[in-house]
């Protein structure tokens, strides 16, 4: 990277990205306004332009300081065009927004390339030519009665840096025109803050993880020793370690808008290329997730949005024929539910056709040929199944299965779950439930034979004791009546390939596990209590070990596998 200030490169990158996100957001609003639709989320056209102007201006200043001339030049030219829009010398048409979007893309690429040291690869000539040509063509065409020559003058000045030139171009209201613009996402919090490299936060998290493991060990040893002074000290230290862990976890939380903000632009482009009109609503942008978790969920969400756009939402003509408004509705929401974050992608499209799924499933031999109906859950599971999508090509829903399966795999690896609800003709809702952080979870420890397993509490509804005689057989499966519900019984012994029976009809220990709306009773040999576990990702989980999402180290130093509840059913 050729810059005089390499130490500011990361800051430049992250702040530029923030501004590009704001630019894209406002451009979408402008485009809506240009089509005569209400500008969603932005109070007015003026405000949207002001936001874009200010962000472009900031990028200009930063990139010039960094010595990234190509970006500085492009943003300067762009600023001139925006200035003309702001003064009303130019109307917002589709061709204007197209050029603006192209500029935003070029800026984005330029920013990334510059920081990555690929400044040579930056070629803004095409978009610059478009921008300049655009400016001239419209001036001539419109014979705009602006004798001050504001915009043109502006474009000619500033390309070179000269403090002494006092241009007639710049307008006195450049400062005031941005009044009333919404404050950026960042707020007062930055006051008295320091920036820390993400890598350091990761290291801190690892270290505190080790500390938590050591704490467990220490607690066990001190309990065994019976030494009261030691126990007291250990309790105090434990409390401090807990507080330390909470602080570090909190410091790693980032609001989901950091990822969500790129989706409106993505949806716009995808909808355009699919020939569809789509209104995207995003809610819960302020919800916070662990940084590493947020990095991981971006792709799955893109998958889900793309599925909704390509396969869920119909073309305007089809929608009209179905008596729906021409613009499809797409909702992306995030909300906090206890120690989890729930992310939903919901569309009002054609939904999943169960009949077809049933037929395809039968053809593929995935369900009993005698079945006449599938439950919601089965549909979801079938659609999510790898390899099922090939069968689906028959149904004209190709692609959907692959994407959903990828989402399933990814989300499950993160310790989360996926649920699909769909009504034919009304739409599909996919719900992702994720733990707040990747690195640490609360889990219930269970013993089977000599092994201990960790069951993440995210998926545990309650712990129960089961009377062996209360378990009955229903359609060849063991079930248990529990709170007026018939729950399938899963025996962890059997899952692990051990003989299922325990001697003598004693009470059996079990947890009611819950995945989305589905519940089951998981019977284990013994429940050992709840504890904090530090999740260690296992690189390659062998085929036979499908039911584990990772491993952890227990208080006594022994490893334990973490059960992937979703795979048990």
């Amino acid at each position: 990277m050729s810059t005089a200030f390499p130490q500011y490169a990361q800051l430049f990158l992250s702040e530029s990205r923030e501004h590009l996100s704001a630019i894209n957001h406002s451009l979408l609003a402008l485009e809506h306004a240009g089509r005569g639709e209400s500008a969603s989320g932005v109070a007015s056209v003026e405000e949207a332009i002001a936001v874009v102007f200010r962000s472009v201006h900031t990028i200009k200043g930063m990139s010039a300081t960094m010595g990234f001339a190509a970006i500085a030049e492009l943003s300067h030219e762009l600023e001139s065009l925006l200035d003309r829009l702001r003064r009303g010398e130019l109307r917002i048409t589709q061709s204007v927004t197209d050029v603006l979007f192209a500029c935003a893309d070029a800026l984005e690429r330029g920013v990334e390339d510059s920081v990555a040291g690929r400044a040579d690869a930056i070629d803004t000539s095409a978009v610059l030519a478009r921008l300049r040509h655009f400016g001239q063509a419209t001036v001539e065409a419109e014979h705009a009665p602006v004798a001050q020559g504001g915009a043109q003058g502006g474009a000619q000045v500033g390309a070179q840096v000269d403090d002494d030139v006092v241009s007639l171009a710049a307008d006195a209201d450049a400062g005031t025109a941005v009044e009333g613009a919404p404050p950026s996402h960042s707020s007062d919090v930055r006051q008295r803050s320091v920036r820390v490299e993400a890598r350091r936060l990761d290291t801190l998290m690892d270290l505190v993880g080790e500390l938590v493991i050591a704490r467990g060990r220490l607690q066990e040893l001190s309990a065994r020793s019976g030494d009261e002074t030691l126990a007291e000290t250990v309790t105090r230290a434990s409390r401090v370690i807990g507080a330390l862990r909470d602080e570090i976890m909190t410091s790693r939380l980032v609001p989901v808008w950091q990822v969500f903000d790129r989706f409106p632009r993505f949806v716009r482009d995808a909808a355009r290329s699919a020939g569809k009109t789509i209104d995207l609503t995003v809610t819960g942008k302020e919800i916070e997730l662990d940084r590493s978790m947020l990095d991981e969920v971006g792709d799955p969400i893109v998958h889900l949005l793309r599925n909704a756009i390509d396969h869920g939402i119909e073309t305007p003509a089809e929608r009209a024929a179905a008596g729906k408004p021409p613009a499809g509705r797409l909702l992306l929401s995030a909300e906090r539910d206890r120690a989890t974050v729930v992310i939903r992608v919901s569309d009002d499209g054609r939904g999943i056709d169960r009949e077809r799924v049933l037929r395809a499933a039968k053809d593929a031999g995935l369900v009993d040929a005698a079945r006449t109906e599938l439950t919601d859950e089965e549909v979801a599971r079938l659609v999510a199944r790898a390899g099922f999508s090939t069968a689906q090509e028959v149904t004209g829903m190709s692609g959907r299965g692959v994407g959903v399966d990828a989402v399933h795999t990814r989300v499950r690896a993160l310790g989360g779950s996926v649920e699909i609800r769909s009504v034919v003709g009304r739409g599909t809702t996919v719900t992702l439930r994720l733990p707040l952080t990747l690195a640490m979870q609360r889990a219930i420890l269970a013993r089977v034979s000599d092994e201990r397993y960790a069951i993440p509490t995210t998926h545990v509804r309650e712990t129960i004791e089961v009377q062996p005689q209360a378990v009955t057989m229903l359609r060849g499966r063991e079930v248990l009546m529990h709170r007026d519900d018939v729950l399938p019984v899963i025996r962890l012994r059997r899952v692990m390939g051990l003989p299922a029976t325990l001697p003598g009809g004693e009470l059996e220990q079990a947890v009611v596990i819950e995945l989305a709306e589905k519940r089951a009773v998981l019977v284990v040999d013994d429940l050992l209590g709840q504890q904090e576990i530090v999740v260690k990702q296992v690189d390659q989980i062998r085929d036979g070990l499908r039911c584990f999402s990772g491993a952890t180290i227990l208080g006594d130093g022994a490893p334990a596998l973490i059960l992937d509840v979703g795979s048990l059913s």
Binding site: L11, E15, V166, G175, E179, A181, P183, D188, R195
Partner: protein, 120 residues
């Protein structure tokens, strides 16, 4: 005792950079503001020896912030930070009460020269 500075800019990048330049030169950065409104508030609260002020900020622009601050404290020492192409605004800011200006992209030596002139 080192002289105190309030840095006003809506970009963290710029605040960091100016802050680093000034701190390395022995000034004490006592506060930051990212909007004009904050700039005025913090000035009243912190009474810094020097303010660096960006022109384009959300909420209230830098020039209006200069006016407000000078209304409160006519002796306020404010250094404008402008981008290229904003010369007319710089003139307006000077009329509003700012003492001097530097133009982005910043060069540490120029920033320090300007700061010394203003604190003179």
């Amino acid at each position: 005792m080192s002289q105190t500075v309030l840095i006003c800019d809506d970009a963290v990048f710029m605040r960091t950079m100016v802050g680093d330049i000034l701190q390395q030169a022995g000034y004490e950065v006592v506060g930051e503001a990212e909007t004009g409104v904050q700039a005025v508030e913090r000035y009243k609260q912190l009474r810094p020896d020097l303010v660096t002020m960006d022109i384009v900020m959300p909420d209230m622009g830098g020039i209006d912030a200069v006016r407000e601050i000078c209304k409160f404290d006519p002796a306020a020492r404010i250094l404008m930070c402008s981008a290229m192409g904003q010369q007319a605004l710089v003139v307006e800011a000077l009329q509003a009460g700012a003492k001097d200006f530097v133009v982005k992209p910043f060069q540490p030596s120029r920033v320090l020269e300007a700061v010394q002139r203003v604190l003179g």
